[in-house]
Structures are given as C-alpha cells and as structure tokens.
Symmetry: C2
Subunit: 450 residues, 2 copies
C-alpha cells in the first residue's frame, strides 16, 4: 500500500480542497437548507471516480446511489450522509460554520467530521487507488442519504424498495475516528433512537404571574411530566421500557474489557465533574455501550431574556431523545411514553415522534470486522479498539442487519475533540489524510479476501 499512501500524501492539498468544497455547501436537513445543492456536489464527486450515479427519490430528501462496477468478485456497500446538524448556537463558533477554514492544523466547519469529510475521504481513496493501480479490487455501492441528522425517516422504506440494488457482501458504515486515548475505534453496531417533541399549552396567552395562584402553568406541567420520565438515579420510569433490553453476552463483556478507558481525558476535555452515578471503569463503559437513555435535548417556555419578567407562560416545549439498545423498538417506545404520560395525569402533554431508528448489531467474529481491524493496524501501527456497539445511532438496521449484510462502522478521520453536533466541529488535517489511507486499505484488503 506504500505506493498508494505516497500518492495520497502528494495530493493532500487537492483532497483537502474537496472536503472543503462540500462543507461550504450548508445542508441542514432539520431546517431544509441547502440539502439539494449538497446532493448535487455528492453526485459529481462520485461521477468523478467513474461511478454510475443515480438520484433516488424518497418522500424526503433524495438518496444518492453510486455504483462503481469493477467486475470484481465481491461487493462492498458504503453508507454516508450529506446532511448535517444545525449550526446553532452560532455565537459560540470561532470560525464560520460554513467556511471550512483551516486553523491550528484543523479544518473547522459544520459537517466536516459528521459526515462530509468521511464521505469525501472515501472518494479520495478510490481516486488514489485508481491512479496508482488502475482500478479498485472490489465493486462499490455508495448509499449517501440526506436525512441522517433528522433520524433517516425515509430510509427504511427506501431500503425495502431497493432491496436488490442494495445487495452486498458487506457494508462499510460511516466512519468514526480516534477515541480520547488517540486509539482508532471500530464499532459493530449502533444504538437506536426515538426522538420526541413534547408540548403543553395551558392558556391562550401569557398571563401576569400574579395569577399563578389559581391558573395552570405550562412550564410547571412540562417540568413535572419530564420529572416522571427518569429519576435522579438515571432509571427510566416508563413502564415496560426495559422489557426488550438484551443483556450483554460474555463475549460483549470481554470486548469491553479490552478497551482502554478514556474516561479521565473526556472529563478533562469537556469540563464535567463526575460521570453519572459516579461510575468508572468497566461499569462506565458498559453503561455507555449497552444502556438505553432518556435525554432532554432542549427545553423552552416563557421569558428567557435578561432581568425580570413576571409572566405565567401559556406554553412550554421539550425535545427528548431515547437511545435504544437491542431489541428495543422506537414505535413501541412511543406507545409506552403516551401510556405513561396518560397514566401519570399528563394527558395535556402532547408528544410527536420526530424520528425513530432501530438499534442494530453485527457479530463480533464477522470477517469484515477483521478487514477493518487489520487495515487500522496497517495505517496507524496500533491495534484498534473494537466496541460491540456505539452510543450513537444511525439507520444501520434497514441497510445492514435487515438485509443480512454484515456492517462495520470503521475508524476514520475523527477524534475526541472534534465537537460533533456542537459548535466548532473540526477534524485534524493529519487525521483526514490518514483516513483516506485507511479507506484505501479497506477497499484493497476487502477485494483480496477469499
């Protein structure tokens, strides 16, 4: 692979510029901004390496499908997304979120780490292999969707509709990166998610807070309702919520034990005092990997300005996500949540399921996992950490597990300080270049597999 690595080094400026180009096109699915334009850039990039590109419509944003048919024996499908999280709160960015500026050896921009840089690195890997070897040693099928950050609401239907086209021997998921110990991380599954908006309306207008003695307050109703969802010991109180949680197996425990903890570094990096429940060591890692969550992602109602305003808010809202583990089901969680609120006297709290995804896992002994692990050793010279399931979510279930395709979330261009989903998202330039080498190695190793 040294010839290919050398080619990549020689073309680093060009490959960085490609990632910048895609980041500079904002594409926030939640706000419907720029997504169409970004899909066009993705199509052009795939066409530039000789893929046959189609724009497949869904009920939402289109999926860009790109097939590089090399006549090889084996086929790898590749999942990425061209949409990104909203950039807000804008005032906390030190660089233009859509500028892809380079500073301190990092590329800053919304989506550089999740997931535009990752997609572009894969295209660059193909480009490098083609220039050095003529062609990639495997057939590749890109599935690049535009709604990952809003929970891929249409991908399950898409996958059912295009089952045949999506057939592959393995699936390369969107990539991760190095953990807080600077060890590349490979994951064999994702948690699911059920994301809700809760809302309460208590009157038709905001009122003087003097009336609070006798008139209902939407903010109190919401606060109390939220308080019934999870107790201070982090136990979700919704009846039946834990019924479908699969317990970690002995091999899961063994895999977790091999992972060197980065707990102290994360604590320092993000400035929090203690992990929940004061956990540390194996129980901390086990909780992160195998426990479902219930999270207030946002809450608002009433006066939020400076100083005093004595107002009785007429309405209040919260965004709440549940991260789910096998074999929990987002639709069932929605039913349980409604039943819970009703049973606790909160019929006035409306819920809307904004997005749902199943959890998904690939077995620890999958041969494609071995390819991704060995490729990481080739590039970084260390054994990567292999986690059974990441704490994040994604539509792995409909594209992978449900179609019987072993799916691996490889290492990649990211690192612990990348500020994913947060202000000042960034990727280190050297990690980006190493990521291109890594994907090239996976493609070549996968093509050589018996």
């Amino acid at each position: 692979m040294q010839d290919i690595y050398q080619y990549i080094e020689q073309h680093r400026e060009e490959y960085i510029a490609r990632a910048q180009q895609l980041v500079r096109q904002s594409s926030v699915a939640a706000q419907g901004v720029g997504v169409q334009e970004a899909s066009g850039i993705v199509m052009a990039m795939l066409a530039s390496v000789g893929a046959q590109v189609e724009r497949l419509e869904t009920r939402g944003q289109p999926v860009v499908f790109g097939e590089l048919n090399t006549g090889a024996a084996r086929t790898l499908s590749i999942y990425n997304h061209y949409d990104v999280q909203p950039a807000e709160p804008l005032e906390l960015w030190h660089h233009d979120p859509w500028g892809a500026e380079i500073a301190d050896g990092k590329i800053f921009g919304r989506g550089i780490g999740d997931d535009k840089g990752d997609f572009v690195a894969r295209v660059c890997a193909i480009d490098a292999i083609q220039h050095v070897r003529g062609q990639v040693g495997a057939n590749l099928k890109f599935v690049v969707e535009g709604e990952e950050e809003i929970g891929s609401p249409n991908l399950e239907h898409f996958a059912r509709e295009h089952q045949k086209r999506l057939k592959a021997d393995a699936c390369l998921w969107e990539g991760g990166g190095k953990n807080a110990n600077e060890i590349p991380e490979i994951a064999l599954g994702v948690k699911g998610i059920a994301y809700f908006q809760l809302s309460v309306q208590s009157a038709n207008t905001d009122l003087h807070s003097a009336l609070a003695a006798i008139i209902p307050n939407a903010a109190w109703r919401l606060t109390w309702a939220l308080g019934t969802l999870k107790d201070q010991n982090e136990r979700v109180r919704i009846k039946g919520f834990y019924d479908d949680v699969r317990r970690p197996s002995p091999s899961d425990h063994a895999a977790l034990k091999k992972i060197k903890s980065s707990a102290n570094r994360m604590k320092k990096l993000w400035g929090f005092k203690n992990y929940l429940l004061n956990l540390q060591g194996a129980p901390l890692q086990e909780r992160l990997t195998f426990q479902p969550t219930c999270t207030i992602c946002g809450i608002w109602g009433g006066y939020q300005g400076s100083g005093l305003k004595t107002v009785l808010p007429k309405e209040a809202f919260a965004k709440v996500d549940f991260r789910l583990v096998p074999d929990q089901d987002p639709a069932k969680v929605a039913r349980l949540l409604r039943t819970h609120l009703d049973a606790h006297g909160f019929r006035d709290v409306k819920i809307e399921l904004l997005g749902g995804e199943h959890p998904s896992r690939t077995p620890m002994d999958s041969p494609f996992a071995k390819v991704c692990v060995e490729a990481a050793s080739d590039v970084w010279g260390v054994a990567p950490a292999v986690v059974p399931m990441v704490a994040g979510s994604g539509p792995m279930y409909p594209l992978g597990e449900k179609l019987g395709i072993p799916t691996v979330m490889p290492a990649g261009i990211g690192y612990a300080g990348m500020n994913i989903h947060a202000p000042n998202e960034n990727v280190r330039v050297e990690d980006y270049i190493a990521g291109i080498k890594y994907f090239a190695t996976i493609f070549e190793r996968f093509g050589r597999e018996p």
Copy 2:
C-alpha cells in the same frame, strides 16, 4: 364634580394624546432601554401642572419626585412607575408595542395599562381641576420610579433616605381597574415577591446526546431541581416556606365573600380548562388573595429550533418567582431556597435573587379606603369591589406600611382584558377617560376630609 367631568370630556383628545406620548417612549428597565428618556417626559408632565420636580438618583434608575404644594391641610402621596415590562414576544403583537395605536376603541401599547396611562390620567385629573377650580384641594407628592418591573431593587433604600420628604397623610398607589365582571376594584395591599434566576452548567460545551448514558445533563438537573420546589398539588416543598404566612382574619373572609366571582369569565377569556386544584367559589378567591406562589416564569436550555438536534445541553436556566403574603420575607425565602436545593443534592443549581419585595397591607377600615370607595361610586355608579390584597406585587411596604402611611390601590383605567405583562396590552378609551374623572374625584374628596 360635574363641571370637572365636563371639562375632562371636552379635553379627551388632548388627554389621550398625553398618554400616547409617554407610551411611545419605550422604557424597559429589564433591558435598560429608553428609561432615561421616559423619566424626562414624566418630569415635564409634572412640571406642566405646576409641581416642583426633582430627579432623585438611586443606585439604579432615578425616582422622579414631584411636589404640588397647594397650602392645603392634608397631603397625599402618589405612587407610579415609568418603566414597563419587556414587549417580547414581539411576534404575538397585532400593533406596534411602542405605537400607542387606537383600534376598536382601545389604546394598544406596552405600558398603557401598567402603568403609564395610570400616571398620565392622574396628571390630567390635576390639570382639569386646576382649570375648573383654580387649584387642587390637597398637597400632592408624586413618587414615580423607573424600576418597578424589575422588582424596585433600590426603592427601599430610597424610602429610608427620603423618609421626611415622603411624609403624607395617605398614599394613592398605582391604580387597577375593572375586574372581569366590569366592577371597579379597590385593593388594600399587595403580595411580596422573590424573583430568582436558577442556572446549571454541566459541561463546557454542548455534547452529542449519545453520551447522555454517562455524562450529566444540565437540563435534567434543572428539571429535577424544579420538581422538588413544588408538587403537583401546588404545595411548595421548601422547608419553612409557609411558617410566616398570616392566616386570613374573619374580616378578610367577610371582604372576600362580598366579591362577585369573575372566575368563569377569566376562564373563557384566557382559554384555560380548569382552575388549579379544580377550585371554585370562595376557596378560589381565598387562594388567589392569601396564598403564596412558586412560578416558573421562563425555562430554557439546549436546542429549541425546528426538527431534531441530538444534543446534550451544557447549561440550562429558569426564572422562578415566589409571590409572598404577610409576613413572609423575600430575603428569608432566598435563604430557604438555597438550603432546600443543597439538602436535595442540588448544590450545582446556582440561584440569583433578581428582585425582592415585602408584602404589605392597609387595614380594611382605613378612612382613605373610604375616600377611594366613594369616589368610585361617584364615577361608575356602582359599589366597587374591595379586596384585602391583590395577587400582584409592588413596593408598597417601604413607601407605605413602613412609614406608617395608609396606602390604597384604587380602581383606575384598566380592565380584565388589558393583557397586562402580555402581548397586546391595551386600555379602553372610555375607561381611560373615566379613570381621569375618578382620580379628580379622589383628589377633591381627600382634600375635603376632616
């Protein structure tokens, strides 16, 4: 009084224009906007009726002190404020909050009802008396402050400093208006208030919500902390909070019984389903009048935009006010709140007391109350409702009770649909004109008292 009433009717356009002039000068103490300019207009208006006007500095906004020395035997002090609530949320206004537009027989604008129209009506009443009779039959001392809507943080100190100057036989408080039954209402006291900002910071950056399994969430911490303050039966759970609550006396109960309920009209007007605890009748009125409250006036943290954002918020905030009744004390409530949060494991929840005021009451049999009651009968031809204490707050304690001055909150220019502290604040033109007549009648009756 008919000659004076006639003069007022003949000059209604001029008197309306005066109120519009003051409303058009925004003066939001919470935001530090326009307050100085408004104080200048107030000074000019007082000077226009011959008052000696002084601008008395405080640690915050100045108090405008205007003395109309007529050589009469008795002196009435008059309390108003020239600051107003913030106009936000602006998108819910149907008229410019600073436009003082007239539509459907109403003057719309932030502060027209609370408290600018009320102040201007008093100046107009003096103007009318002077034109018809030559001079008012009492000495008048105006105390017009600029920080009422942020809890009058400097008025207690001001009152101590200017005790002599504030000496009076009675004090006319800022005026109310008609209740939902269209009956003029007179009140002999105000609740106190303790207004806090609560804040929690759990990390130095917003994080991906996948980490919620192990990293603290400021929004959960705040939600849980708030949940310990008050239970769903509306009982404040802070230890010692009710210790100083004075129970209503038999004469209080008797006074409440005379008040015709406007409960159904308020329900219809503001579109809420039921009163708290499903109360009605006398217990409802008693709760409104004599019970302290704990109110979430605002709450915010994390993502508040459209769609999904899977974020673990680094910080969360709430504005919480407590309305206090005799003999509760805002400084003591602040201590109890801190102790409560600490005892419940919420040392991470910071509190800041943004404003505090004592409750205050004047005895039901005060002679000045009789003046205000009889003046209301003169103008409106009905017996006014007399309530022992309003549910709102104000700095009545330092200016009245503490200086031994009987203080009455008279009827005035307002009505139940005035949207006080809310979008589309308004006053009906006819109520405004009647209010001028009412204040003229009070001044004349007060001057004639033995």
